[in-house]
């Protein structure tokens, strides 16, 4: 008896939920014709983006999805070069945002961009050390000290290419203990206090908060990296992909608020 009652109550509750769902759905669209031009946006896209964008992009996407209910933006953050290789190999991606123009070129050279990539931000390198600076790092010159535990990006990825440029410009031969496959790995090792210093982007230092301390160095401006973004050709939701690219372009100031340099 009590079991039957429980079933009945559950069913009633479920149907109430379903009804509420049905009733709720048409209300906002009827009441909010504020953005008629883009109200047709629906569905979801996958955005492959450089690891250094992994804080600012989700925040932008939250705003975007609020402005366009019914859309979902899914991110895949990683080393730009690895993401580019996956796109060239046929990964189903709708938008690509890279941490260097060279990396974007591997995708555009394969005729995989729907429109010319636009640069939405720039970034420069900064030294990251663990709180308390256990290795007593003072500047770029410490990267040539074999006694210190140093991690940098491998030259195969944009942050490593930028590092190579600043070392060459400063006339320093670095003696790192590891060439990491992406900037996140460098930051992880510094955050874990398993390295005395690493070379990461300024925005990474900022996003890491109290977990690392940044040391700026003269010459960082010699290796400023650009962040191009482009919709990928053959997207199953080209309208949404283009809308997201335009949205990011319109919100360059948000990127700058997150520590990026103006494009």
């Amino acid at each position: 008896m009590s079991r039957r009652a429980a079933v009945a109550i559950t069913l009633a509750a479920l149907s109430a939920l379903v009804l509420a769902g049905c009733a709720q759905d048409p209300l906002p669209s009827a009441a909010a014709p504020a953005t008629p031009a883009t109200s047709a946006l629906r569905g979801s896209i996958t955005v492959d983006a450089a690891a250094s964008l992994n804080t600012v992009f989700p925040a932008l996407a939250a705003t975007f999805q609020k402005e366009h209910p019914g859309t979902t933006i899914t991110f895949d953050f990683g080393g730009s070069s690895a993401l580019a290789a996956a796109i060239v190999a046929g990964a189903p991606v709708d938008v690509f945002a890279a941490a260097s123009t060279t990396t974007m070129r591997t995708v555009s050279d394969a005729s995989l961009v729907a429109a010319k990539p636009v640069i939405v931000a720039r970034n420069e390198l900064e030294i990251a050390v663990p709180p308390g600076n256990p290795g007593r790092i003072t500047g770029l010159r410490d990267f040539a000290d074999a006694a210190k535990t140093i991690v940098v990006c491998d030259k195969a990825v944009p942050c490593g290419a930028a590092a190579t440029t600043v070392f060459a410009a400063a006339g320093i031969t670095p003696k790192p203990d590891s060439y990491e496959p992406d900037v996140t790995s460098v930051l992880t090792k510094v955050e874990a206090n398993e390295a005395d210093a690493g070379l990461v982007y300024s925005t990474d230092v900022r996003n890491a908060g109290a977990k690392v301390v940044g040391i700026r160095f003269p010459g960082a401006a010699r290796a400023v990296t650009a962040y191009p973004i482009a919709a990928i050709a053959g997207s199953r939701n080209a309208a949404l992909a283009e809308a997201w690219v335009a949205f990011v372009q319109a919100h360059e100031s948000d990127l700058q608020a997150a520590g990026f340099l103006a494009p």
Binding site: A82, T149, D154, S178, Y179, P181, S185, T188, A192
Partner: protein, 257 residues
């Protein structure tokens, strides 16, 4: 029976065939000739062999203890076996972070050692072996434990009646009977170790000739020259096949009894 078997075979072999078809055979020599691949290959073979040795030396005793755990309380036994297999389900990168938290210079064990001696395990070739052993050990322990449980206990009992002590009984009777299991476990451990990437790059880093194994070199090559990455993958595949086939022939004779 044949249809799922065929699907399984295609699933296993198909990607390898695709790799071979796409491999830049004409440029293979040039792609592999640089100063990256050969040192990485040597490092991979050396560290995988060392970690397989560690797996056998440490894993066989652990398997022996576990296989004799029938007398333990059931919850203890279950938890112990689950813990031993955890590295199998842990994403390798997470395993690498866990190793750092234990053995890094501020880790639970590594911290006191670093403060006392200044010794830092990460970024050394030894740390590559530790990472590989961590991920491959479960394969050996599970394989050997299964083999030990499969051994007919009457042989050991007969040995006892003939006056053999527990050690003699284990070394002269049980272990030889379980040898094919040990060999199979070692082969699996080697295979897992030579393909290891995530735990190694997180715990040991990636420095050419020191910690940059072949899978890490392949991943980095993928960033700039996908053809070079495929070429490295072919090398890795050929090496793994040669090692596995030769070991199987030598060690696993009679496993089909």
């Amino acid at each position: 029976m044949l249809v799922p078997a065929a699907i399984a075979f295609v699933l296993l072999v198909g990607p390898l065939v695709a790799l071979l078809v796409r491999a830049p055979w004409a440029r293979l020599g040039a792609l592999l000739g640089g100063d990256t691949v050969l040192p990485a290959l040597g490092l991979s073979l050396g560290t995988a062999a060392a970690s397989t040795g560690c797996c056998v030396v440490l894993g066989v005793p652990l398997a022996v203890v576990l296989s004799g755990s029938d007398g333990w309380p059931a919850p203890v036994r279950r938890v112990a076996r689950a813990l031993v297999t955890t590295p199998l389900v842990l994403p390798p990168v997470v395993g690498g972070v866990a190793l750092l938290l234990l053995l890094g210079r501020v880790g639970l064990l590594g911290g006191p050692v670093f403060r006392a001696t200044g010794f830092q395990l990460p970024y050394t070739t030894a740390s590559v072996v530790v990472a590989q052993t961590f991920v491959s050990l479960p394969f050996l322990v599970l394989g050997v434990e299964g083999a030990l449980r499969g051994v007919d206990r009457r042989f050991a009992i007969a040995a006892t009646t003939l006056g053999a002590g527990p050690w003699t009984r284990f070394v002269r009777v049980t272990l030889p009977l379980a040898a094919p299991g040990v060999a199979a476990g070692a082969v699996l451990s080697f295979a897992r170790a030579i393909g290891e990437f995530g735990a190694t790059v997180t715990f040991a880093g990636s420095l050419p000739k020191v910690t940059q194994t072949l899978p890490i070199a392949a991943y980095l090559a993928l960033n700039t020259d996908p053809d070079a990455a495929i070429a490295i993958a072919v090398v890795l595949m050929v090496v793994a096949l040669v090692v596995l086939v030769s070991l199987r022939d030598r060690w696993l004779q009679g496993i089909g009894r």
